[in-house]
Amino acid sequence: MTIAYKRNFPTLTINNVSTYYLLAAEAMSIHPFPLCFIMATGGHGAREEAEPKKLKLYSYWLSSCSCRVRIGLDLKGLEYEYVAVNFPEGEQQTPEFLKLNPMGYVPVLVDGDIVLADSFAILLYLDEKFPQHPLLPKDSVRRAINFQAANVISSSIQPRQLMLQHMREKLGPQEAIACAQDDLRTGFAALEKLLKDYAGRYATGNEVFLVDLFLAPQIHAAITRFKVEMDEFPLLSRLFEAYMELPAFQDNMPGKQPDTPAEHRV
């Protein structure tokens, strides 16, 4: 397995700046107000320095589910050890890996003695334990929309790709791609409807939340792997452009991972 370290510097955004200076003030036993000037000038190391280096992420460069968690870790400024699982060589089916996740899927997060698989579960866990850059809005309506849209991708769209290998073997690559495109188009059409009343700069407003972490990798896969034409999905197209302006998204796309093969490296 390829192992690398990722050091994420937390990005100061509207989501996290108040959390940062409040946490730092608490740590230093001073009133938060003077600190906001320090934070505004870029002194955002307090929370990050306090975090022990104990997170480990088992990931595969091309896995959209792993990509979701990579983005989440980056947004929260969490350092972790990247352990690549080589799918073409079947590393996900080794007894060693199956002990970590009996389903044989990535991503898997190890945090001390907690071992956790499934991207949805991992992200909710990270959000509870590391509250900087919250992944869920405070408003209960938008929270529900985040859960719903994220799970639409996680349970209704992405799992269809599990049929891809089967289709490819039985029907050939072109037919398999055509099936995948149909599934993606159906799912994207529904997401366009679901999100249209809530989207701002990002999917559920003007801040990045959970559903954006699911959308970005799914749209990226649809475009690059399955050649879906995005013209019929104007909202998702616009969101994707907004994601690609953010380093936390760009840096965690498949083309830039420690285990990205040379011919796919961006």
């Binding site: 044989g104 949805f120 799992p159």
Partner: protein, 229 residues
């Protein structure tokens, strides 16, 4: 749509019970999860049947409720939430009485992971539409072996995940989110796909615990207002 008020088995809620409406189909295992959870939490609701057999999920009326055309969907005053996991997480936050998520963080993550194995890695792969697709392309034998293989892969994984922590229920002696997902999934595996549960002793044991619960029995497909013999 067929409508009926359903009071769960335990009516011990505080004043002014919520006016919840559940859009459900009697045979939908995803709807079943929410019915079971509403019963466990003691939340009364109005049952509105959506007939998936005659395409009612594509009606303009239901399109407004869920543009993905799936059940379940839950209406709570002006808010409509679709997707069973989203509904259950919403219910946990809004109605914390009789919590379905444990306090202990390790158990919380285990419950989320087990729920997601069912929700993303088992059930979507044996949905009616997926199996119809498999049958059209590859034939009915392939359809059966596909469903069996996907369910058994998931069940073997769940056995390993849960065997050291399961008690009366999936993650101990209290019923939680994982159980809400597992109960319908195991029931469907047995009844619809003839899965041999002797390979899964932990899942078999906890299924027996579910069958003893009035809240589970009350959520059975055949007890729903739109059940057809």
């Amino acid at each position: 749509m067929q409508q009926k008020s359903v009071s769960p088995v335990d009516n011990s809620t505080s004043t002014a019970p919520p006016k919840l409406i559940l859009y459900s189909f009697w045979q939908s295992s995803c709807s079943w999860r929410v019915r079971f959870a509403l019963n466990l939490k003691g939340l009364p609701y109005e049952y509105r049947a959506v007939n998936l057999s005659n395409g009612e999920q594509f009606s303009p009326e239901f399109e407004k409720i869920n543009p993905l055309h799936y059940v379940p969907a839950l209406a709570d005053a002006d808010l409509v939430v679709s997707d069973s996991l989203a509904i259950l997480l919403y219910l946990e936050e809004k109605y914390p009485h009789k919590a379905l998520m444990p306090v202990d963080r390790r158990l919380r993550v285990l419950n989320l992971q087990a729920a997601n194995i069912v929700s993303s890695s088992i059930q979507p792969l044996h949905m009616v539409s997926v199996l119809r697709n498999i049958e059209e392309k590859f034939g009915s034998e392939e359809r059966s072996s596909w469903a069996q293989s996907k369910i058994e892969t998931g069940f073997f994984a769940l056995e390993k995940l849960l065997n050291s922590l399961a008690g009366k229920y999936a993650t101990g002696d209290e019923i939680y989110l994982a159980d809400v997902f597992l109960a319908p999934q195991i029931a469907v595996a047995i009844k619809r796909f003839n899965i041999d549960m002797s390979k899964f002793p932990t899942l078999s044991r906890i299924f027996n615990s579910y069958k003893a619960l009035p809240e589970f029995l009350d959520s059975l497909p055949e007890r729903q207002p739109d059940a057809v013999n």
